[in-house]
């Protein structure tokens, strides 16, 4: 069972089909599977439902798939950075389902963990609660949210070994671990594939069971909001 593929295109071969649901890891442009998103665009697959916290920017990340109109629907918590998104949404070309960020994260975790539904206080009394089952626990009202699964999950990690064990780096972890668990197929791109045995087994964030295919990618790692402070001069 070789999990390592030569490139992103090869790693997606046979896994894409029109109308499919894709989970894509990352928060903003941090920790997004750049190479696999580009390969998904190049595959020409259409009418995708994309589950991703954000929608990239116009010319990077999931923005690439919006430019080519391959996305039919987004399930996200925040899409404020993307003008093309706004245009397509306002013109009715694109469907959008907003989820509170924590609800979205937990829905992915639940989908991967075999939990079809769970209760949360988040969104009670808001638009988000409309049409959802309400239930009281200890006198407090909660709403039911459902688990999410995807036909394909694409994630970005820092390091992997040949077994598909993944390690993430700093806040680039974000949605990637849960999404890796919630894909029927999960393809990971990493900055480095290290020899088996060189990852600390106590510090593996995503065990290899969740990763079916793996590539080493080239990463631009674009910064969305470069915010710095000045060194005080002596």
């Amino acid at each position: 069972m070789k999990k390592i593929y030569p490139d992103a295109r090869a790693a997606l071969d046979g896994l894409t089909f029109d109308g499919m649901t894709v989970m894509s890891g990352g928060f903003g442009l941090c920790g997004i599977p750049e190479n696999l998103i580009a390969a998904l665009r190049d595959s020409g697959v259409k009418d995708i439902t994309v589950i991703s916290n954000n929608a990239g920017v116009d010319d990077f990340g999931l923005g690439l798939l919006l430019q080519t109109r391959q996305i039919k629907k987004m399930i996200s918590s925040y899409v404020g950075e993307n003008k093309e998104f706004e245009r397509q949404y306002l013109s009715g070309e694109l469907e959008l389902e907003f989820n509170p960020q924590g609800t979205l994260a937990e829905r992915c975790r639940a989908g991967g963990a075999g939990i079809p539904g769970f209760y949360t206080k988040t969104g009670v009394g808001t638009l988000i609660a409309e049409g959802k089952e309400h239930k009281e626990f200890d006198g407090e009202t909660y709403i039911m949210e459902t688990g999410l699964v995807a036909d394909l999950s694409i994630v970005k990690a820092w390091k992997a070994d040949e077994q598909g064990n993944l390690v993430f780096r700093k806040t680039a972890r974000n949605f990637n671990p849960m999404m890796a668990t919630a894909g029927k197929f999960t393809v990971a791109e990493v900055e480095e594939i290290v020899p088996l045995g060189s990852l600390d087994p106590d510090c593996i964030h995503t065990p290899g069971v969740y990763v079916q295919r793996l590539i080493k990618g080239d990463h631009e790692k674009r910064v969305e909001q470069r915010t710095v402070r000045q060194r005080e001069t002596a």
Partner: protein, 217 residues
């Protein structure tokens, strides 16, 4: 009306909000004025900042040569880590928030009602950007403090009987700090003016407030 009544500026509002921090608190700060609160943490008060994209122990903005694309806050700004920092997934981050483990959230608002309803994510008819983590934060964090201008740019009150905008959360706000003063909201008991900014009178506040409130200054 009352255009000349200014009270606190942005930094003074942040400084006032910082007085709500207690030693040992774990705190989530929203975008805008709440971010400034980090500049006013009182001496001897040890506070750990949570960033809902998966970090506990958020440090200051980096120097130019320290910028790391893998290290951002929930506003997508580059930041730094501290010796106490830990990273975790978004699911673990919101488990922390939803589970009531964060002591305090300080955030901005468009409207707050006298019973503590909060609206800060959506204006119908305008492009909607999304609620991000705001609904999770107000539903899960132990105490929610809103910092906002007392009135809108066009002079309309933002403290209302009922919010006119779609809610972020119902009965979730515990305190509102505006440029005019401080209000406490107790669940089921309504709103109470507890502090006035320097040079602001109770009548000034009443003139710019639709919400009913008791006075306890």
């Amino acid at each position: 009306m009352a255009q000349e009544v200014k009270g606190w500026d942005r930094n003074q509002m942040a400084e006032r909000a910082a007085k709500e921090l207690e030693d040992g608190f774990y705190v989530n700060l929203g975008i805008g004025i709440p971010t400034l609160v980090a500049n006013y943490i009182p001496d001897g008060v040890d506070v750990t900042l949570q960033s809902e994209n998966g970090m506990l122990g958020m440090g200051p903005f980096p120097y130019d040569d320290e910028v790391d694309p893998d290290l951002i806050n929930a506003g997508k700004q580059t930041i730094t880590e501290l010796r106490r920092t830990s990273y975790f997934s978004s699911a673990d981050s919101f488990a922390m928030i939803r589970g009531g483990h964060i002591d305090l959230s300080i955030l901005g608002a468009m409207e707050v009602s006298e019973n503590g309803d909060l609206a800060n994510w959506m204006i119908p008819g305008k492009m909607v950007k999304g609620m991000g983590g705001a609904m999770d934060l107000v539903a899960g964090v132990k105490r929610v403090v809103v910092v906002m201008d007392h009135a809108s740019k066009s002079g309309d009150p933002k403290l209302l009987h009922e919010c006119s905008l779609p809610l972020t959360g119902q009965q979730v706000v515990d305190m509102v700090i505006t440029n005019l003063g401080v209000f406490e909201i107790e669940r089921g008991k309504g709103m109470k003016l507890t502090e006035l900014a320097p040079g602001v009178t109770i009548d000034d506040v009443k003139a710019q407030t639709e919400a009913a409130f008791d006075v306890a200054v």
